[in-house]
């Protein structure tokens, strides 16, 4: 096939008498973005290093068509005494660009990284944020046919990460560039990648459309009954400490959902705020339930409380609940990962809600 960019056949790497990568057959077409996920030590970095030519395979072969740039750890490796511009030339050379090509890219890159007015200063006078932004911006604007990237998005502050993700989403997806992308954050993988490869102990565990593989991976990650930390090791002042959080019956989208919370009282308080924050299994914040929002004050002497959600606004999927108890605005107790929650399939306002992922749903009125 003409548009095939990367093809590996039975690729394997043996390090220290252990196969850290084995029987890898993958194909990447022109313009395709392939995500690689898996636990630490699953072989993700080894695969990237092999494709970038840093490691020689011990078994099988691979074939890469077109110019390739490999970016491992974009945020590091600048020379402190050289100016941003000189560092960009050096980095560019490492990535296969001539000086003329870097010169051409530089205005766009520095603009994106927000370092235009300081590009001729030595990098040691940059903040660490500026350095990683420059590294990322250079990497993201590379004109190579094939990009092999490791965690490029794990740099900068939240605002820059959001900007970067949006940029990659629009540029990478619309270009003919093929990308092999390793990331630990599933939401980014879902947004960026067409296909995902799940590596487990050096082998391909699953390969397919991004959402399907990410769902399966997330499901394998969640522990069934979380162990709570000892009360004295938890954060908070300790006027009250939670003892149990129980979910009754199976929760379904749009249905009535109930849970019960129990605690012990160590010092009285008339004004408790019980908060439960909801995360999807891959770590995105979804929702927050707070007893203060119901307008009732809860006294610590009550020792238990019941929450009823009359129309459960969560799509079907797996969630994680964190528990925090406040008294007069001060944190008393915190249980992270207090419970897992599986929401079953159900109708939302009598209709199927069109989302395959865990998310909060909202009643709406369109005119």
């Amino acid at each position: 096939m003409n548009s095939l960019r990367i093809e590996t056949s039975n690729l394997g790497k043996n390090l220290g008498n252990r196969w850290v990568l084995r029987r890898i057959d993958l194909r990447l077409e022109e313009g395709e973005i392939l995500g690689i996920i898996g636990a630490n030590g699953a072989g993700k970095s080894t695969l990237l290093k092999t494709l970038s030519g840093l490691l020689h395979p011990d078994e099988g072969s691979y074939r890469i068509k077109g110019s390739m740039a490999s970016l491992l750890e974009v945020g590091t490796g600048f020379h402190p005494d050289l100016s941003g511009r000189e560092n960009a030339f050096l980095r560019g050379a490492l990535l296969g660009l001539s000086r003329a090509e870097v010169r051409e890219l530089l205005p766009v890159v520095t603009e994106f990284a927000g370092v235009s007015d300081r590009i001729d200063e030595p990098v040691k006078y940059y903040s660490s944020g500026m350095q990683v932004r420059l590294g990322f911006a250079l990497a993201a604007h590379l004109p190579a046919d094939v990009l092999v990237v490791d965690e490029v998005l794990a740099v900068g502050d939240a605002a820059f990460q959001a900007k970067s993700l949006a940029f990659l989403e629009s540029t990478w997806r619309q270009s003919a560039r093929s990308v092999v992308y390793v990331a630990h954050q599933l939401p980014q993988v879902r947004r960026l990648c067409d296909r995902v490869l799940w590596l487990d102990q050096g082998l391909i565990r699953m390969e397919g459309p991004a959402d399907a593989v990410c769902d399966a991976y997330a499901a394998s990650q969640k522990s069934t009954t979380p162990e709570w930390a000892e009360p004295e090791r938890r954060r908070g002042q300790g006027k009250v400490r939670a003892t149990a959080l129980s979910i009754q019956e199976q929760w379904v989208t749009g249905g009535t959902a109930k849970l019960q919370l129990h605690w012990k009282e160590y010092a009285p308080s008339e004004n408790l705020d019980l908060r439960i924050s909801v995360e999807s299994a891959d770590g995105s914040a979804i929702s927050l339930w707070s007893s203060l929002q119901s307008g009732k004050s809860i006294a610590s002497s009550q020792l238990e409380a019941h929450l009823t959600l009359s129309e459960l606004g969560l799509s079907s999927g797996d969630y994680l609940l964190h528990l925090r108890l406040f008294a007069d605005g001060l944190l008393q107790d915190e249980v992270l990962g207090a419970s897992t929650l599986t929401v079953g399939h159900g109708l939302w306002k009598g209709l199927e809600y069109p989302t395959p992922r865990p998310m909060a749903l909202q009643s709406q009125d369109w005119n």
């Binding site: 840093l54 395979p57 490796g77 000189e86 490492l94």
Partner: protein, 274 residues
Amino acid sequence: MSSVREVTAQDPWWKPQPDSAKNARRMALAFARRDLRLRYVQTQLGWLWAVAQPLILITTLTLVLGRVFALPAEGLRQFGLNLAVALPGWIWFQFTVSQGAMSLVANQALVSKAAFNRSALPNSKAIVGFADFLVGSAVVALGLLLIQEAQALALLRLPLVIAYTALASLGWAYALASVSVRRRDFLAVLPVLLQALFFISPIALPSANFAPVGWGIFYWLNPAVAMADGFRWAWLGWDVWQPAHAISAASGILGFVFGLLALRWRSRRLSEFL
């Protein structure tokens, strides 16, 4: 027309990558530029040091060694000539060997993260050293002009000697850099070894006047013998050659081939060691 990179587990270790020559050239220039930029960062005199260094060395060595050997005025002049034409080449040689040997280890963060032709790092040191050599040679040329010693026709031989110096020093740099990736012992003793090499090489005196008795062929295995006498042959037009020089020259060129192979062999597993 786009390039295709095809790698299989069975590829022999000496097989070159398709675009590695272009890659090596670009990277060597980029690294050399980096080093040259950094060279005189935070110095007052900056590039004047490049001129001052060879001048100071030639003058002190001539005066000190001339005093040691109690040379008369004419002898001192001959001695100074011998030293001055060989010294920039020697400085370049030992710079390339010492810096090149360290270059892979010193840049290990880069080497373990980016795939580029590994010879680029030692090569960049040779380029930086060559810049110094050019400055030093300009000083020498000026001096020779002043005392009317330069042989215009013989100077055409200079490129040949320069090429030989580059090859001979790079061979050692490649080999030592490859070994040092796993065993750094050599890096620790290298300055001493190079200092010793300076004393057993005909830098201050031509090999005709300086060949230790009883060393036999071992003296001629030193590639720096052909280099130092070569510079006299090129700058001053002296006919310095003896048949044994062929051994020295062959040792330099074979050393280059050996170093190149050692580096390529080591390159394949470099990221596993660093």
